[in-house]
Amino acid sequence: MDTEKHDTTAPSSNRRRFLVGSALSGTVPFLPHEAEARAPLAARPPGDAAPGFALHVNAHVYQVALDPRTTLLDALREHLDLTGVKKGCDHGQCGACTVLVEGRRELSCLSLAASMQGREVTTIEGLATPDGRLHPMQQAFMNHDAFQCGYCTPGQILSAIGCIREGHAGTPVDIREYMSGNLCRCAAYPNIVAAIEQARDQGEG
């Protein structure tokens, strides 16, 4: 019911943008015919009739056809195998699913994947350079031990980048206020604030 990309033209402006093959498509479930036959029309979601669309993630283009109810979060995790993005509530209450959309932080559990057509999504997997050099925010989180279990961490890092870009990281008080949508149950908060200050002072965001 959904497939990964076939062919899309990559904008030449971004050298890192390239096509992703259909390596994942073999693992994507198809609805068995029995289930289709049993389903009365009224209860059938129009999912399998959904037109395919392109998701631009981390400078890759994925051609997908998803149940229209699929959130960006579930699309990334369950269909594109980008599991760095985490589900902590699915209700916009915890920030674990934070991604950057066109460079701004957004909660992927509150966005439908279909609404992302033509918009550039950045997940934690897209932060380090292709040769493995960490983004300064990632490095700052490591330097300051700004995580314990690590489950909220991708969301904290992406949110922190957004926070600096928005100009909301000038003081510790500002950082705390504007990072409050990202819960950390391990409560690495003091270390996260210190890490954000380090990255900010390096001019990163």
């Binding site: 073999g26 979601p45 999912g47 915890c94 995580f147 314990q148």
Partner: protein, 733 residues
């Protein structure tokens, strides 16, 4: 640029090595159990009871089955006898409660799993689960909480503690305190949801599930499914926080396992945040009664602590903190009692410092009340009653640095600048309150094993079925092997979180590091003995010895037996029964980590807004293997303490015991904006007795005492003594 907050080292401390798995966690490469991708996975969604105690009259699954993509729906009518009734951990078994999953038409509590849908996609499973229609007969008057009329109170005689003659001494006491306290139900809410993936290959089952104890899941599931334990493997490489919620086998795992077997496909369940409130255990609400008598110079002459803890009808679960709070201060006449109150609720379980948080709140607040009555500094009251021997049995503490912690924390905090009279410290419209309390947590360990392999190329590998919950287990394992063998840290690799590895203790009770480090040390000793290499031999000599042995590698298994466990108990760890032991449970001694908590808060004169401005904690916990990760655990614990005092409580619907705030917008946990200045100080302490590694553990002590320090600071700011948690501004109006 700000430097790191964690200390760089100190006496009896190792290196603040960066986290072994740090890079994997900041790049998103770390795969938590729900991130593992299995081909042809079907998705499951639970349907939980929306009534309290009652009976299922029937299911109408028509609408649910009609959802496009639905494959299977499990209910008590369709699972048959696929899952066997087995004992819960409280009865020597493995499960976290004794309700048989989808066992019958009886509903014991709101939120009990009563059906599970399996579908091609998550979206279809979720929709179908919502379309299940259940006809039910609710019980007319379920007992919803610890105060409900229908709840049954039972005294737990084995938990009674007695010394001297409490009644007589209390009656004769020159100064007396008699106070009652309550603490609320709370949920751990680790950020990672309760997920389970199961896949069968023939008759072999692999389970991916976040866990604090893979072997408990493995052996419990074997019993439930009637499958040989050798056929089951449980993998939990990364765990997104646990805090007690992932200690034992919950009902969901067997359901996912049998669904996967019925389908012949992998099945993945990720319980929603709301479902998580009843999928696993929680911190039960308590009522407590404390009576203290003291001489005019502050010496305790009588101490009574009685607790009532909520439990389910199905299971008698009690954290029994009074058995500990009665043994912390010198006092000749003691009475400790614990009762359970059974209601129509899900079975409670463990949550970070399960007994110490509620009981410590009551005792440490009562001591502050006594200090106030005596006109005595609360730090001095603790000093007067400090002891190196436990007062009930006269057993020695293996080490106890309570007053050193108080002195260090008080100096850092600036406690001497406190004006003792309540309401006497102000800044503009803000009332300032300073409060303190003791922190304590039993030093525990459980039988554990670890395998260490030293390879001819000079690398080492450490393996044990312990868990990385965020506490730094992986880094610690590498560090201990590196230190013991003299191998550079970057040349050590680690495997954990897999039931195929040598078994470890359940990673709870702050026992993980003490237990697994001891096992690694034993394995390293054996390697050095086999190679004939002395303890402090240089790395080159070690490598030369392996080369001379002609072996590709030298490998040894270390088995560490916890103090107080018999030699006959060792095989138990190979059956998923390695539980922590320590604290006051030993025949010959008591062992505790100790600490001191200081808090400054401000309360707005008009709005009564309460803000914690700063907190200083100092903790002595034996050897600190890694000051970086230990410091983070203590900071996190202290912040949990702030949440426990001011934010966290699970709201219970008085009609059906539904949890009405079962989401992260309404169940309040501390967020960035709640936390400003928090300082955790590691006080160096050496304890060669406590266990081979000399480690007491720091996972839980950080949270203990904070709530009392806060309630004591509220009293100092306002003169109002609040004895019910959480403390909210409406209590101060």
């Amino acid at each position: 640029m700000t430097g790191p907050l964690f200390p760089q080292g100190g006496p009896n401390m190792g290196q603040p090595a960066p986290r072994y798995e740090g890079r994997a966690k900041v790049t998103g490469e770390a795969r938590y159990p729900s991130d593992v991708r299995l081909p042809r996975t079907a998705h499951a969604c639970l349907h939980l009871s929306r009534i309290g105690r009652g009976t299922i009259r029937g299911f109408d699954l028509t609408a649910a089955r009609a959802v496009h993509g639905v494959i299977d729906i499990l209910t008590h009518e369709t699972v048959g006898d696929a899952i066997r009734q087995t004992p819960a951990i409280y009865q020597g078994g493995y499960t976290s409660d004794s309700l048989l999953p989808l066992g019958s038409a009886e509903i014991a509590h709101w939120g009990q799993p009563i059906a599970m849908v399996v579908a091609e996609t998550y979206e279809a499973a979720r929709e179908a689960a919502q379309r299940i229609v259940v006809t039910t007969a609710p019980h007319p008057s379920p007992a919803v909480d610890i105060n409900a009329p229908g709840a049954e109170t039972r005294a737990l005689e084995p938990m009674m503690v007695q010394a001297g003659d409490f009644d007589a001494a209390y009656a004769a006491g020159p100064i007396r305190i008699d106070a009652r306290y309550t603490t609320p139900a709370q949920h751990q809410n680790p950020m990672e949801l309760f997920a389970t993936q199961c896949v069968w290959e023939g008759d072999r089952l692999t389970v991916h599930e976040p866990s604090q104890y893979v072997n408990s899941v493995k052996f419990g599931l074997a019993e439930q499914l009637g499958v040989p334990a050798d056929n089951i493997r449980v993998i939990s490489t990364h765990v997104g926080g646990a805090f007690g919620a992932k200690g034992f086998l919950t009902q969901r795992t067997a359901l996912v396992a049998i669904a996967a077997r019925r389908l012949g496909r992998p099945v993945k369940l990720v319980a929603t945040r709301e479902q998580g409130f009843t999928v696993s255990g929680y911190r039960a609400e308590t009522r407590q009664h404390v009576q203290l008598a003291a001489t005019r110079d502050g010496r305790l002459t009588a101490l009574r602590h009685e607790g009532w803890e909520l439990t389910s009808r199905a299971d008698t679960v009690a954290m029994g903190g009074a058995s500990m709070t009665t043994r912390l201060y010198a006092c000749p006449n003691i009475l400790g009692r614990v009762n359970t109150v059974a209601a129509d609720r899900s079975t409670p379980g463990f949550m970070r410092a399960p007994g110490e948080v509620p009981y410590g709140f009551a005792l440490e607040t009562a001591l502050d009340e006594l200090a106030d009555r005596l006109g005595m500094d609360p730090v001095e009251l603790r000093r007067v009653n400090d002891t190196q021997t436990e007062p009930v049995g006269g057993l020695p503490y293996t080490s106890r640095s309570l007053m050193r912690c108080f002195d260090v924390a008080a100096a850092t905090f600036g406690w001497s600048g406190r004006s003792p009279r309540p309401g006497s410290m102000r800044e503009g419209d803000w009332l300032i309150g300073w409060g303190c309390a003791s922190a304590y947590y039993p030093a525990q360990a459980g039988n554990s094993a670890a395998r260490v392999r030293l390879t001819a190329d000079g690398t080492a590998h450490v393996a044990s079925a312990g868990h990385e919950l965020g506490q730094g287990m992986t880094t610690m394992m590498a560090q201990v092997a590196a230190e013991e063998l003299g191998v550079p840290l970057e040349r050590v690799t680690v495997s954990l979180g897999d039931s195929d590895l040598p078994p470890a203790v359940v990673n709870g009770g702050s026992a993980g590091t003490a237990s697994v480090a001891s096992a690694i040390m034993i394995a390293c000793d054996a390697i050095r003995a086999r190679l004939g290499v002395p303890r402090d031999a240089p790395y080159a000599a070690l490598r030369a010895a392996v080369a001379a042995s002609g072996l590709a590698f030298v490998e040894e298994l270390g088995e560490a037996r916890a103090h107080g466990r018999s030699p006959e108990s060792l095989p138990d760890m190979y059956r998923g029964r390695a539980l922590p032991l320590g604290g006051v449970e030993l025949p010959d001694r008591v062992q505790f980590a100790m600490g001191a908590q200081f808090v400054e808060l401000r309360i707005h004169r008009w709005t009564r807004e309460i803000r914690v401005r700063r907190a200083v904690g100092a903790f002595a916990a034996g050897r600190i293997i890694n000051p970086r990760t230990s410091h983070s655990q203590l900071l996190g614990g202290m912040i949990w303490g702030i949440g426990s005092a001011l934010h966290e409580h699970t709201d219970i619907d008085q009609r059906n015991a539904a949890y009405t705030n079962a989401n992260l917008a309404d169940y309040l946990v501390p967020v960035h904006a709640d936390i400003s200045e928090i300082q955790a100080i590691l006080v160096s302490e050496e304890d060669r007795l406590v266990n081979q590694a000399g480690v007491k553990g720091v996972g839980e002590i950080g949270v203990v005492g904070v709530a009392a320090a806060i309630s004591n600071a509220v009293f100092h700011a306002t003169g109002r003594r609040l004895r019910d948690l959480p403390i909210k501004l409406e209590h101060l109006l």
